[in-house]
Structures are given as structure tokens and as C-alpha cells.
Point group: D5
């Protein structure tokens, strides 16, 4: 089940640089593990913004909530979620 | 070069049903041809809406403009465009 | 899987009264059948508005889309959808 | 008398972790007591957000105000209220 | 139980003048009857607008909905509703 | 001359509790004195909000400005003002 | 007593050209008479818009309402009103 | 050349009272000097707000920018600018 | 003197095709004449929209208003105007 | 490939003046180097605002992202991006 998730990141300037580096490394590892598992299907950077557009493929709303609130950067993100379905004109097997 | 394109469709209720059926068939064929060519990378339906979220992969802004304004349903669409880039955390070869 | 769905109804004043009565009767029957099946879990009227707040319990985003676009009044509705989950503080078995 | 209440929670990052744990525990107890009394009829988590959608069943606007401003997290919440009524198509006895 | 209700009126220019005069007369009579009954506690014109700010005093959300949807001009109104309570600083007996 | 004034209060959490109690007491006395003088005609609490809806009856825009900026809580308020007139359908002598 | 009034004009394209010319002439005469009387203190065109920014100097909100709703173009205008006062830094006698 | 300029002032509560008094005095002197020079044609207080509506008469956009950014309170202001022209219905010589 | 002007075009679908072709040809000629004169400094198409972003270089707000309201498509345009100045970091002679 | 980029700058008042001067100097040098290279085609100041309107000419969305996130003031900017194309009515060779 697919969801478009848009994330805008606002890390406070006052965060300690080491803490910042650490949280960003953890975030990257977390994201890549979810990508490898197929749960986080796509992620793109929005040009000019500290923001991304992502597609998640999950079993349920609950699973989506768990994955998103588990993001290391979650406390610093503004998140919006939109439920998607397969489009009747789609020819790609995996756009479902 | 990737763009997220969101399209909301508003076909006037007064449109002749045959004209409507025809324009929808043409739209589907147009979309699928662009999908096969790789220009229209993804298309998903937004749940509960007559709207889609799409990813285009084009050579330039001009090409994007030409493809979108060529949509048979273009006169009945509200379109928003956002330029995307490869995300540094992405592990998918083709999310670029 | 739960979704909050808000529907605002705008039936054009020019609609033939018989057609209007018919479509409203069909809408009511459609809604009640879905309520009996458990798919449409709750429906409330918004005070002072021709609008409702509803809770749907469906298998997937696709099923939600099919149910909503099947509404007889769908062409005259403005619809917004929000994915819900069980709340960790909830004590009701069926608020999941 | 029913009201839809949406609550968005913003706890300041600077809050002491013990104080935070304590206020969250108090909030949960407060919410569950109101749920048991039947005043707080439903509560759902919004997927991906630190927010809930709730239905309250109260005697009056005053009672609603008292219950909401009594929330331990009230100083950290953005709250919106919408008055609801029984929907003429509803088949559930308790959606009134 | 008090509610602030704001009504913006948009009568289509194409309405037959006799029909318009009739509906306005009916609206005025309806409003004044509700004012005499104490249900419609206050009504003021917004300066420069075809709009009013009103205070209703009703038994329930349902009664408010019935009164508002019974307005002869209801089909031509944009209505917003806000639940009010007695203010702890109020010294007027009837501002409850 | 009537004005609807809506006030949303945001007292910083960091305010000293004694200072807070003092300013709230002063605010209440100020409000009640203006109510007794007939300048502050009505005040209602918005359900679920730290906000009020008020009706002022003043000689001029200047007087309204002086009364509002004299509110002890003024530095912590978001205020909106709307000029009102007697409504032609009103039957209350004092809704002018 | 001063008010800033902003007016956006939307005359329907379908209006008969003679009717249009007549209503515009009446509007101009009406505006100039009010300017001569001192009630309509200033009027400026917004660059690039069919809109104006005006300053009215009236006895009361009621008078403002009467003047604005008497505008020949009133049915085709979107109007916003803001109450003004003399500014403590003003050095112009008539900016009151 | 005329511009409507709206300024909303937000001085941080933490500003030292002496610094505040000094900056306000400087602002007043600056404003009055520009009023005397004819550059700042009008200034009115918005009722109930720490805000003003002003009319500037300048040689160019550059001059407007220089005057506005030179305001002692500029760092604490939210400013909006709208280009104005003489209105064809205006009868005042100096509303140009 | 420079202005950014954004124009969104909405030609009604009901316009006669010959009238449409004629008005578009006139618009193009009008735009190109102003470009040649140096008044309309730049014009770009917004990707995916029937809209443009333009830079005008005019003597005054009045001249801008005259040029814009003279656009053959003006009745079908939504226009927004923003006054610009030379940027202190600019190295281009003609970005003034 | 052209993009309109709008940047609003918000430097925190608490920034050390030397740091501020340094960052502004670096920003200016960075901007001018990109202007000389032809990547940053135009930059204008918005009258009355600490903001600019710019036109970038880049190879790709990625290049735009790299240039923008490399701005010394990037952490203090609110940025919006719009993809542009050559306009069919343009007569300037370099407005492509």
C-alpha cells in the first residue's frame, strides 16, 4: 500500500555539530535499511530545499506511522502524508 | 532530470459523454506512450481524488512543458510542478 | 485500516428536482449498505454545513478509493482524506 | 452532544525528560478516565503526526471547554473544534 | 448554549427580482421569529459586506443545524460556526 | 458604534507565575470596568481555546484603539477587529 | 472617522456594453460627489489591477456601510474594510 | 510615484526598555522628517494593531527601498508594498 | 524602474476559436512591440502552466498600469506586481 | 535551463556582528562569481524587503540544488523555485 510522504527538515542551528553529524548518519542508515527492505520505495531531494519527496510501500497506516516516527530526524521534521493507489493508466508493474 | 507533477482533473459536467469518453481514451494512450518512452516515470492515483502524483524524467524544462501542455486533458487540469534531484541517501540506481 | 474522510456537498441549484431526489435516495442507500458492511464506520453531520465527517475501515487505499468514487454524489463533493491509526491511549477495542 | 476535536502536540525539546514522562503519563490517565466515562468517545492517531482526531460527547460547550483546558498537555497543543450532529443517513445508534 | 455564526450571502444576479424580494421577506420574518423566541440572540451587519455576525442560543448542535439549514437564504450562504462559552470575566447575566 | 473584536492569548510559558497571576487579575478588573461602563458590551470564551469573541461599543476608532492597547494582556494577544452596524432585521433595541 | 477600503472590481464579461458604460459613468459621478463632500478622502488605482485603495472619512460604521452598498458597482465588487486612527507620529492635520 | 506601504511592528519583549524608548524616539523623528519632506505622504494607525498604513511618494523603487530599510524599526517590521497610480475618478490634485 | 509581473491566463473555453486565434496574435504583436521598445525587458513561460514571469522597465507606476491594462488578454489574466530595485551584489549593468 | 528563484533572508538578530559582516561578504563574492560564470543570470532586490528575485541558468536540477545549498546565507533563507522555459513571444535571444 503506497503513500506519498513529504518531509521538510529543520534542524536547530544550536544543535551540537557532533550530535548533528551523528543524527544525520543514523538517519541515512535508517533510510537505507528501509529502502533495502522495500518499505521506502523512492526518495528524491526537492531542488533548493532541505526536504524530500518519498514513496512508502507498507502493510498498513500503523506500519507507516511506526516507520515515520522512528526516523532519527522525526523531531525536526514537518511531515505530510497522502494515500496513493495504482493508477488505471499505469503500465509499470510496481507502481501499485 | 526529474520533476514531481501533481495533476487535479476537473472535467465540466456539461461535456458531451462521447466527447468525454474519447478524450479519456486519448489521454490514457498519450500517458502510456510517454510511460513506455521512459519520460513519464511513475503515475499514482491520489486516494479519493480525481488527481494523480507523477514523476517525469525529461531533458529540460522545455520538454516538460511540451509534454504537459500536450496532455489531452490539459485544459481541464490544475497542475503543479516541483523540480527534484537524486537524494544522497537513495540506494536505487534509477531514482536520479 | 481507518481513514477520516470529510465530504462537502455542492449540488448545483440547476439540478432537476426529481434527479436531485433520486440521487439523494441512492446516496443514502449506498451509505447505509456500506455502514452495515462495517466499511463506513461512522458518519456525522457538521453543524450548519452540508458536509459530513466520516470514518472508513477498509482493506487498502484502493478499496477506499473505489468506495469513495462510487458515491452517487461524488461528482458534487469536495473530499479530503487522512490516514488514521489506533491511538496508544485508546481504550476502545474497535478504535483501531 | 458531539464534537470533533483535533489536537496537534508540540512539546518543547527543552522540556526535562522526567517532566515529559510524567506529563505524558498524566495525559494518558486523564484521557482514559474520560474515555471510560463516555465523554471522550473516540481517539485516533493521525498517521505520521504527533496529533489525534477525537470525538467528544458532552453536555454543553462549557463542559467541552473544561475537559479540553484540563488536558495536562493543553499548554502544548493546537486545538480545533467542530460541532457535529447525528447524520440522517447514519444507522448506528450511538453516532448521535 | 451559545454559538457565534457568521453568514456571507451570495444571491445569484440571475435570480428573478420578485423571487428575490420574496425570499428576502421570508428570511427577515424567519430571523425575527427566532429572535423573538430567544434562539437568535444577536445579529449585526458587517460594515461594507452582505454578511452578518450572529449569536445563537440553542439546546444542542442539532437544534443549531435545524435552525440554520431552515434559513430561506441557506442555499446562498457561506456559513461558519464557532462554539462559545460564558467567559470567566463576563459580568452580564445573559452572556452565557 | 459596534466592533467585533477577537482576541487570542499567548502568554509565554517562561513568565513568572506571580507576574502571570497579577497580570490576569489586572486584566479581569480592566475588562469588568469596561463592561460596567458599557464600552465592552459582550465577551464570550471560544470553546477549547484561550481566546474570546467580544463586542465593543465605542465613540470612535480611536477610542477602540485606546481601549484595546490598554489591555494588560495586549502584548501577548493577537487581535482582529471588524466594524459592525445595526442589522435591518434586528429586533433588539441595543444591537446597534 | 477613517477607514481604509480596498475594492476589487469584477464586471461579468457578459454585461451589455451600454449597461457597462452607463454603470461606470454612474459610479464615477457617485464617487466624485462623495469626494467633493469629503466623505471619500482618497482614491488610488492599484497598478496592474482593476482595483482601488481608498480612504473614507465618515461619522459611523453605519454611514460607511450605506456609502459602500450604494456604489453602483457594489454587486460586482469584493470589498475589505479596515478601521484606522490618527497615528501618533503624523504631522498632517487632516490624517485623522 | 505613490506606494501603499503597510508595516506591522514586532519589538521583542526582551529588548531593554531604554533601548526601546530610544529606538521609538528615533523612529518618530525619522518618520516626521520624511513627512515634512513630502516623501511619506500619509500615515495612519490600524485600530487595535501595532501597525500602520502609509502612503509614500518617491522618485523610484530604489528610493522607496532606501527609505524603508532606513527605518530604525525596520529589523522588527513586517512590510508589504503595493504600487499605486492616480485613479481616473480622483478629484484631488495631490492623489497622484 | 523595474517590476516583476506574473500573469496567469484563463481564456474561457467557450471563446470562439477565431476570436481566440485573433486575440492571441494581437497579444503576441503587442508583447513583442513592448519588448523591442525595452519596456518589457524579459518574458519567460512557467513550465507546465499557461502563465509567464516578466520583467518590465518603465518610467512610473502609471506607465506600468497603462501597459498592463492594454494587454489584449488583460480581461482573462490574473496579474501580480512586485516592485524591484538594483541588487547591491549585481554585476550586470542592465539589472537596474 | 532557467529557474526563477526567490530568496527571503532572515539573519537572527543574535548573530555576532563580525560573523554577520563576514558571511555577507562571502555571500556577495559567491553570488558575483556565479554571475560572472553565467549561472546566476539575474538578481534584483525586492523593494522594501530583505529578499531577492533571481534567474538561474543551469545544466540540471542537481546543479541548481548544489548552487543554492552552497549559498553562505542558505541556512538563513526561505527559498522558492519555479522552472521556466523560453516564452514563444520572446524576442530576446538569451531569454531561453
Amino acid at each position: 500500500m503506497l503513500f506519498k510522504v513529504e518531509m521538510i527538515v529543520n534542524i536547530p542551528e544550536s544543535m551540537d555539530p557532533d550530535r548533528r553529524a551523528e543524527i544525520l548518519a543514523t538517519e541515512k542508515a535508517y533510510s537505507q535499511e528501509l529502502q533495502r527492505s522495500g518499505k521506502w520505495r523512492h526518495i528524491w531531494r526537492v531542488a533548493g530545499q532541505y526536504a524530500n519527496v518519498s514513496i512508502f510501500d507498507v502493510e498498513s497506516n500503523e506500519e507507516l506511522h511506526t516507520l515515520l516516527t522512528g526516523l532519527p530526524l522525526y523531531p525536526y521534521m514537518e511531515i505530510s502524508v497522502e494515500a496513493l493507489c495504482r493508477h488505471p493508466s499505469s503500465i509499470r508493474e510496481d507502481d501499485r
